[in-house]
Every structure is written in structure tokens, then in C-alpha cells.
């Protein structure tokens, strides 16, 4: 697109004086990119962006963290995880605190790092904390493929995998005050932009699939505003997203995982919104299905409403008082993609 086209988009977004548009993004990377690029300041007061449940770490219930902590403290085990999970509070402390107290937890950037760890220490059971959305599920499926093929016996998974269309459906069915959605770009890379069509049509809402630059986001927001009231899916990230997505990745996920009901922290159980290891590969699971309780550390924590886009982080009484990045009361203040931490850093 030309500079002129971008200038026209910016001018239109600033001058918009039509009906109020509340647009939800459901991807933590979008939330972070919106803050980093100062997007809200470029919009008319009639356009409001609201963050939804787009941070997988933030929607992981305390039961899951508690189970990871317990596993890290067992004999001859090691929990392997992405960094964010180390600091998320469970019902009694964090994985980092457990590690400092003698538990074993290692941080990695790629799940495949667990292969070398497992081969170096055959007497230790390595448990990957498999958290994520549709973007990450194929990576775990590929890892599992390699584990099965190589007959590696000392790797297990504790899964908290969730899928986007069911949670968007639940929010819309629950009457969320939104007039459009920025669809998660890298989830769409895997599942395809067509996956959002049934939702767009059912709720007569425009969905704009967006990339992660400021320009990507401005184009998507402009498109959503212009398509107000229409049940349509627009792909503003065509360099990476196709209508049908990465079919090879989808097939690999379907080989090892099946949908099931999943608990979203602060939201509740959403039917069919989780991915769990299939019966044939249950031997690799460390009890993921049983983790169905959430115990907020602080009763006043309003993470659930923040995650549903019902309130802004500033509306929570704990925000910036009892809840800060150094002393988070809820997961939204921990993850780099959490709604509360994003707003905290912005201010």
C-alpha cells in the first residue's frame, strides 16, 4: 500500500464521527503492539479498542500452576517452560519460588530444546508446560511426533492449550459490548481466516485479521470501522494468512490432540475450547484434564472482567496499588502480553 493510502487511513480513523465502535483484539501480541505503536491516540474518540482473552498464560487457571509446582518438586523431574509461566501466581506461590526453594524448572525459547535435555539425563522425567493457542499447538504436535518416532521415554506434557473461536463465541453469546474484532493474526496463520466466518455471520460483526505492525493494525481497524454492522471476515495480513491456513499443521494437531472443555481463568469452563492429548497418546500426559479449578490469590482481583473486556485494567481496585509487576495479584499483570501489564507500562 502506498504512503497516500496510509495517510488516508489515518485521516479517516481520526475524523470518524459515526456510531461508537468498540473493537476487541483477542491476541496478546496485538495488545502489546497497540500500546507500543500508540494506536489509541491515532483514533477518533468514537473508536475504542478493548483487549480480550488473548494471552494464554493469563487464562491458565491456578490449578495448572499448582500442578507444575508439585511436579517440579518431585524426585527426578524437571519442568520445562516458556519464561512467563515461571512468575504466574498459583494458589500458593509461583514456579519461580518453587525453583528457588529446590524445585527444578528450566526456561526455554523453543520446546524442541527439551529433546537434548532428555537425552542428556535419561533418569530424569522432563515435563513440558504446553501452554498456548492454535499458533503453538502444532509445535507441540511436531515435538510429539519426534518423541514418538525416536522412542524417547522421559518426556511428558502438562497441557493448557486453548482455541480462539470458542472463546470469541462465548464472549459474543454472553452479550459482549463489541462492534468488531481484530482477529488474531498468527492463530489465523494456522487455522485460516475462514475459521472466523461462522462467528462473523452469526453475530453480524466485522472481523479484521491483522498483522503486528502499526500499519497492519491501522488498516485492520479502518476496515472494521468501514464494515460496521456486516458479518464479514477481512484479511489484512495476506502475506501470512490464507483462507484455509496451514493444513499440514492442522493435520498434525488433529493427529495428537482432540477438543475438550477447558477452564479459562476468570471466565469459566467453555465447551470445546481446549485441546487435550488423544487417548492413544495419554501416556505422555501428566494429568491435564483434571485441572479444573481456579483459586484467585486475592479475592478483589478482577482479572476475569479484564479478560472479558468488561472493564479496563484501571477499573480494578488492585491495579497499581496491591497489584504491580513486582507483586502481581493476577496473571494479567505478569505476562508481557497481559492486559494489565500492557496498560501499566503505557502509563
Amino acid at each position: 500500500m502506498s504512503d497516500e493510502a496510509l495517510a488516508a487511513v489515518k485521516a479517516r480513523l481520526k475524523a470518524y464521527d459515526g456510531p461508537r465502535m468498540r473493537i476487541m483484539e483477542v491476541c496478546g501480541s496485538h495488545t502489546a503492539a497497540i500500546v507500543k505503536n500508540g494506536i489509541p491516540g491515532l483514533l477518533s474518540k468514537q473508536i475504542e479498542l478493548v483487549a480480550g482473552p488473548g494471552c494464554p498464560v493469563c487464562v491458565t487457571p491456578t490449578d495448572y500452576i499448582d500442578r507444575l509446582i508439585a511436579l517440579s518438586q518431585e524426585e527426578n523431574t524437571c519442568v520445562v517452560t516458556f519464561g512467563d509461566l515461571l512468575r504466574v501466581p498459583g494458589s500458593a506461590g509461583t514456579l519461580m519460588q518453587a525453583k528457588n526453594a529446590g524445585g527444578r524448572a528450566e526456561m526455554v525459547y523453543s520446546p524442541f530444546d527439551i529433546l537434548a535435555m532428555a537425552q542428556a539425563e535419561p533418569a530424569t522425567t522432563f515435563i513440558f508446560a504446553a501452554v498456548g493457542f492454535e499458533t503453538t499447538a502444532p509445535v507441540y504436535a511436531l515435538l510429539l511426533d519426534q518423541i514418538v518416532e525416536a522412542h524417547i521415554e522421559n518426556i511428558r506434557f502438562l497441557t493448557a492449550l486453548k482455541t480462539m473461536p470458542p472463546v470469541i463465541d462465548a464472549l459474543c453469546a454472553g452479550g459482549a459490548d463489541v462492534q468488531g474484532l481484530i482477529a488474531p493474526g498468527h492463530v489465523a496463520v494456522v487455522i485460516g481466516s475462514d475459521a472466523f466466518k461462522p462467528l462473523a455471520e452469526a453475530y453480524q460483526l466485522p472481523f479484521g485479521v491483522a498483522g503486528f505492525s502499526g500499519m497492519h493494525l491501522l488498516y485492520a481497524i479502518d476496515g472494521i470501522v468501514r464494515a460496521r454492522g456486516r458479518g464479514t471476515v477481512m484479511n489484512f495480513y495476506p502475506e501470512a494468512v490464507t483462507p484455509t491456513g496451514n493444513v499440514k499443521a492442522q493435520d498434525l494437531v488433529a493427529k495428537y490432540f482432540e477438543p475438550g472443555d477447558a477452564l479459562w481463568r476468570g471466565i469459566g469452563v467453555i465447551p470445546g475450547s481446549g485441546l487435550f492429548l488423544k487417548p492413544a497418546v495419554q501416556c505422555f500426559d501428566m494429568g491435564s484434564q483434571a485441572l479444573q479449578h481456579d483459586h484467585p490469590m486475592n479475592a478483589a482481583c478482577r482479572c476475569g472482567e479484564v479478560l472479558r473486556g468488561a472493564i479496563a485494567p484501571q477499573d480494578c481496585p488492585l491495579f497499581k496499588t496491591a497489584c504491580t509487576p513486582l507483586h502481581p495479584q493476577g496473571a494479567c499483570m505478569v505476562s508481557a502480553e497481559g492486559n494489565c501489564l500492557s496498560v501499566y507500562n503505557q502509563n
Binding site: M1, C27, D84, S110, V131, T136, V139, A240
Partner: protein, 71 residues
């Protein structure tokens, strides 16, 4: 957490490839996408997630024209 970065495939070797990110070279698994040297790819969690396509500009122009027609 769904962060994925665009890079260019430098070489392929079995089930992985070396991908260049502005001079920083990283090995990534290729089991989800068939790639060849020179391909622009998106990498997520040590794994190539998708090949990037070149025709995006044309598609965006088309989408904007459609929106102009209705909006």
C-alpha cells in the same frame, strides 16, 4: 505468546533450516512447512509456521477497493 518473526531461509538440512533474521541466524524446525533456500518464512517457538507470500500488496489493494465500494 503467539509471537512469530519473519526471516529468510538460508539453508535446509533434514528436518530443520537455518533462518536469517536481519543478520541473526537461527535454526528452526521445518516439519510444518516445506521450505527452500530463499523462502521468506514466519518462525514461532523454534519452528517454521508458514511461508510468506509476495502478492499481499495486490490483495490489500483489492480489499480496500471493495471496502470503498460499500463504505
Amino acid at each position: 505468546m503467539c509471537v512469530a518473526l519473519p526471516g529468510t531461509v538460508i539453508s535446509c538440512d533434514g528436518d530443520s533450516a537455518v533462518v536469517d533474521f536481519s543478520g541473526n541466524r537461527v535454526r528452526a524446525k521445518t516439519g510444518l512447512v516445506d521450505v527452500a533456500p530463499g523462502d521468506k518464512v514466519l518462525v514461532h517457538a523454534g519452528c517454521v509456521l508458514q511461508k510468506m507470500r509476495e502478492e499481499e500488496a495486490v490483495e490489500l489493494e483489492r480489499l480496500f477497493k471493495e471496502l470503498g465500494d460499500v463504505g
